[in-house]
C-alpha cells in the first residue's frame, strides 16, 4: 500500500516534467536498450549455431592439424594429416564407426558452357552422405571406386545446379572447376538435396568431388584438412574412447615422442559447441561491461533528477515531517521513487532494444534474434538496482532535512 502510493506520487512528479524525466532516464533507456538488443542478436546467433551442429548428429569427432597462434604467428604443421591416417583410424580404432577425410576450399569458379558461378569445393569420400545426413536428390553420390581412382566426377549442390543449369537436367554434363592447378573438367553424377546453412556454411552452394581428385588435380595437396570421424555411439564414454584411440594411433603413426605435443587435434562436437559457449561468454562479459558503464551514466542521470526533486520539494518534505513522517519514511519514499523512475527507464529500454533487434532482423534477414525472458529480467533488475543505488544520496539528503528549515524554504 505504502509502496503503491509512493509509486503513484513518483509517477505524478515525473508527469509534471515529461521532457526532464526522459532526459534524466535517457542513460538508463539507452544502456538497457543496447544491452537487450545485443543480447538478442547474440542469443539468436548462437542458438542457430547450436542447431546447425545438432543437425549434424552428436557422435562426431573432428581431427585437424594442431595449429596455434603464438605471438601473432601461426605455429604448427598444416600438413600433418594424410589420407593414410584416415584409413588407419578406420582400420584400427574399435570405437570408430566411419571416417571421412576432407578438404574444402571456398569460392572457386565452376563453369558450364558459358555460364559460371562460384561454389565452395568439398573434397570428400563416399561416407559424406551418412556422416553429414545430406543426400543426393538425383543421380548418384561419389563411390569408393571414384575416390580410389581419383575420378573427375562431381556432385552439385542444389543452388549451384540451379545457377548453372536452371531447369535443365545436369546429370552427365561436363563442368569445369577452377582449382589452384588450373581448370579441370568433371562429369556431373549427382545433385544434392537442398539443406540450407549448417554452422554458417551454405551447403547448397558447394560442389563435392572425390577428396583424392581435389588434392591431386585441383590443389596439389599431400595432406587433408580434416578427418571427420563418427564414433560408434553418441555416448560421452564412447566419444572419449574413440578420441583416445585416435590420439594414440596418430602419435604412433606420426612418431611423436613422449615429451612432444601432438601435431593434430581431436575435437568432439561437444567441444566445438563449448567453444561457441566460451565465445558467447566473452561477448557476454564485454556486453556486461558496456551495460555497467551505461548504467553508471544512467545512474548519474537518476541521481541528478532526484537531487533536483529533493530541492524542489524541500517544503513538501517539511510538511510531510510536520504531519508525522519519520526520517525513514522520507528516505524510503525517495528511494522507491528513484528506483521506480529507473525501472520505467529500463522498461522503455527493453522495448527499444527489442524493437531494434527486430528491425535488424527484418533488415538483414540473416538470422533470427532472440529476446529472452532472462535478458529482460536481468535488464530490469539492473535498472532498478541502479535507481536504488543512485537514489541513496538524494534520499538520505531529504531525510536529514530539518523540519523547521524545510517548512521555511521558499
Amino acid at each position: 500500500m505504502f509502496v503503491l502510493r509512493v509509486c503513484m506520487m513518483a509517477l505524478r512528479s515525473l508527469w509534471i516534467h515529461p521532457l526532464r524525466s526522459i532526459l534524466a532516464t535517457l542513460g538508463v533507456i539507452i544502456g538497457v536498450g543496447a544491452v537487450v538488443a545485443a543480447m538478442a542478436i547474440l542469443e539468436g546467433m548462437s542458438a542457430r549455431f547450436r542447431a546447425g551442429f545438432e543437425s549434424m548428429g552428436s557422435n562426431k569427432l573432428f581431427v585437424t592439424p594442431n595449429i596455434q597462434r603464438r605471438h601473432n604467428r601461426m605455429v604448427g604443421s598444416f600438413d600433418s594429416l594424410r589420407l593414410g591416417d584416415a584409413e588407419a583410424i578406420d582400420r584400427a580404432c574399435g570405437k570408430v564407426e566411419s571416417v571421412m577425410p576432407q578438404i574444402s576450399q571456398r569460392e572457386a569458379m565452376v563453369k558450364f558452357l558459358s555460364k559460371n558461378t562460384t561454389a565452395d569445393i568439398l573434397g570428400a569420400t563416399e561416407s559424406y552422405q551418412e556422416i553429414s545426413s545430406h543426400y543426393v536428390s538425383e543421380g548418384d553420390f561419389i563411390t569408393a571406386q571414384n575416390v580410389q581412382g581419383k575420378a573427375n566426377v562431381v556432385v552439385l549442390g542444389s543452388r549451384v545446379k540451379e545457377e548453372l543449369f536452371g531447369g535443365r537436367p545436369a546429370l552427365g554434363e561436363k563442368v569445369r572447376i577452377f582449382g589452384l592447378l588450373g581448370a579441370r573438367t568433371f562429369t556431373v553424377i549427382g545433385v544434392m538435396e537442398e539443406k540450407g546453412n549448417v554452422a554458417f556454411m551454405d551447403v547448397d552452394r558447394q560442389v563435392i568431388v572425390p577428396v583424392t581428385t581435389a588434392m591431386e588435380k585441383l590443389y596439389g595437396l599431400k595432406s587433408v584438412q580434416t578427418i571427420v570421424v563418427e564414433a560408434v555411439s553418441p555416448d560421452d564414454a564412447d566419444i572419449e574412447a574413440a578420441a583416445g584411440q585416435i590420439k594414440k594411433l596418430l602419435r604412433q603413426r606420426h612418431k611423436i615422442r613422449a615429451a612432444q605435443d601432438d601435431d593434430f587435434e581431436v575435437k568432439s562436437q561437444k567441444d566445438m559447441v563449448e567453444q561457441v559457449g566460451q565465445f558467447q561468454q566473452i561477448v557476454g562479459i564485454v556486453l556486461g561491461s558496456i551495460a555497467g558503464i551505461s548504467l553508471v551514466v544512467g545512474g548519474i542521470g537518476i541521481m541528478n533528477i532526484m537531487l533536483v526533486a529533493v530541492t524542489e520539494r524541500t517544503r513538501e518534505i517539511g510538511v510531510r515531517m510536520a504531519m508525522g513522517a519519520q526520517r525513514t519514511d522520507v528516505l524510503v519514499q525517495f528511494l522507491i521513487e528513484a528506483s521506480f523512475v529507473s525501472f520505467l527507464g529500463g522498461a522503455m529500454g527493453v522495448l527499444m532494444g527489442w524493437g531494434f533487434a527486430n528491425t535488424i532482423e527484418q533488415l538483414t534477414r540473416v538470422f533470427e534474434t532472440l529476446t529472452t525472458g532472462l535478458s529482460v529480467g536481468l535488464a530490469l533488475t539492473m535498472a532498478t538496482l541502479t535507481g536504488i543505488v543512485s537514489g541513496i544520496y538524494p534520499a538520505w539528503k531529504a531525510s536529514r532535512l530539518d523540519p523547521v528549515e524545510a517548512l521555511r524554504y521558499e
Binding site: 513538501e316 515531517m321 510536520a322 504531519m323 513522517a325 519519520q326 526520517r327 523547521v404 517548512l407
Partner: protein
C-alpha cells in the same frame, strides 16, 4: 526547585507545561535567545493566542510546541510526556498523533487531490480505512464535495479548510495554527475562524499564533511575547476589548508585564 509541588500539580491538569524553556541559536559569534526561559501551561480544551512582533520568539514557540524542534534548555511536557528529551523518531510519532498543524500558506501538496492531502497524516500513521477517515474530516470542514479537486482548483479559503481537515484527521489533542488567516481576505478569514471556534467547542485545544489583533482577540486567552519572553498572559474579557477599541492598533504592549506567572497556573 521550590515550586516543584506546584509543577507536579500542573502536570496533572495541564495538557502543555513549559518549564524555563529556552532556545538559543548561534549566529556567527553572537547567541540569539529566540526563547529565553519561558514557563507557562495550557489546559486541555483552551483556545490560546500567542502574539508578538516578528522576532519576538512566537515562531520559535510554535515550532517547539509543535515538536518540530528541540529546546536548548528547560522542559516541555505534552500530555504527560517529557517531549523535550525525545528522539526524532518519537517526536514524529507525537506530531502525527497529538498535533495538527495549520499554516499561513496552507502548505498543501501540489497536484494532489484534497482527499489525498487530508490522508497524509493517516498514511504516515499507517492507519487503516484511510479514505473513510479523510472523507469524514473533509465533511467536518464542509468540503466533501471538493474531495477530488487539487489545490490549484480550490480558492484560498477552501485550501485552508482542506489544511484544517488534514490537521484534525488524526484527532489530535492540539491544533497549532500559524497565522491561519494571514493569506485570506477578512470574510474568508472569519469563516476559517468559525471553524476553529467549532473545533474548540468540540474540545480540541487550539493554539493560534498571530499578530492580527482581531484574530488574537477571538481566543479565550492571549499570550504576548517580546524578545523571547512572555510579557503578558491574560484572559480575553470585556476590559481588554474595551481597551483595544479605545483606539490602539495592536494588542497592547504594556510593560512591565502585570503577570510574572502565567494566568493558568
Amino acid at each position: 526547585m521550590p515550586e516543584s509541588g506546584d509543577l507536579d500539580a500542573d502536570l496533572n491538569d495541564s495538557l502543555i507545561q513549559l518549564n524555563s524553556l529556552s532556545k538559543h541559536y548561534k549566529m556567527g559569534d553572537t547567541v540569539v535567545r529566540a526563547l529565553d526561559g519561558v514557563t507557562f501551561s495550557i489546559r486541555e480544551g483552551e483556545f490560546v493566542s500567542i502574539t508578538g512582533h516578528s522576532g519576538s520568539g512566537k515562531s520559535t514557540m510554535m515550532h517547539l510546541l509543535g515538536c518540530l524542534d528541540r529546546p536548548s534548555g528547560g522542559e516541555y511536557w505534552l500530555d504527560g510526556d517529557l517531549v523535550s528529551r525525545m528522539s526524532d523518531r518519537m517526536l514524529a510519532v507525537i506530531r502525527n498523533e497529538k498535533v495538527g498543524f495549520v499554516f499561513q500558506t496552507f502548505n498543501l501538496i501540489q497536484r494532489t487531490s484534497a482527499l489525498d492531502n487530508v490522508a497524509v497524516p493517516l498514511f504516515y500513521g499507517r492507519k487503516p480505512k484511510v479514505r473513510e477517515a479523510a472523507m469524514r474530516a473533509l465533511e467536518r470542514v464542509g468540503l466533501n464535495h471538493r474531495a477530488t479537486h487539487t489545490p490549484a482548483e480550490l480558492s484560498g479559503g477552501e485550501r485552508q479548510r482542506v489544511a484544517i481537515a488534514r490537521a484534525i484527521v488524526n484527532e489530535p489533542r492540539i491544533v497549532l495554527a500559524d497565522e491561519p488567516t494571514g493569506n485570506l481576505d477578512s470574510r474568508t478569514g472569519n469563516q476559517i475562524m468559525d471553524i476553529f471556534h467549532e473545533l474548540h467547542r468540540s474540545g480540541v485545544t487550539i493554539i493560534l499564533v498571530t499578530h492580527e489583533r482581531d484574530v488574537a482577540l477571538q481566543a479565550e486567552r492571549i499570550v504576548r511575547m517580546r524578545d523571547g519572553k512572555i510579557v503578558e498572559d491574560r484572559r480575553v474579557d470585556e476590559d481588554l476589548r474595551d481597551e483595544l477599541s479605545a483606539g490602539e492598533q495592536d494588542v497592547p504592549d504594556r510593560s512591565p508585564p502585570p503577570l510574572a506567572r502565567p494566568a493558568g497556573v
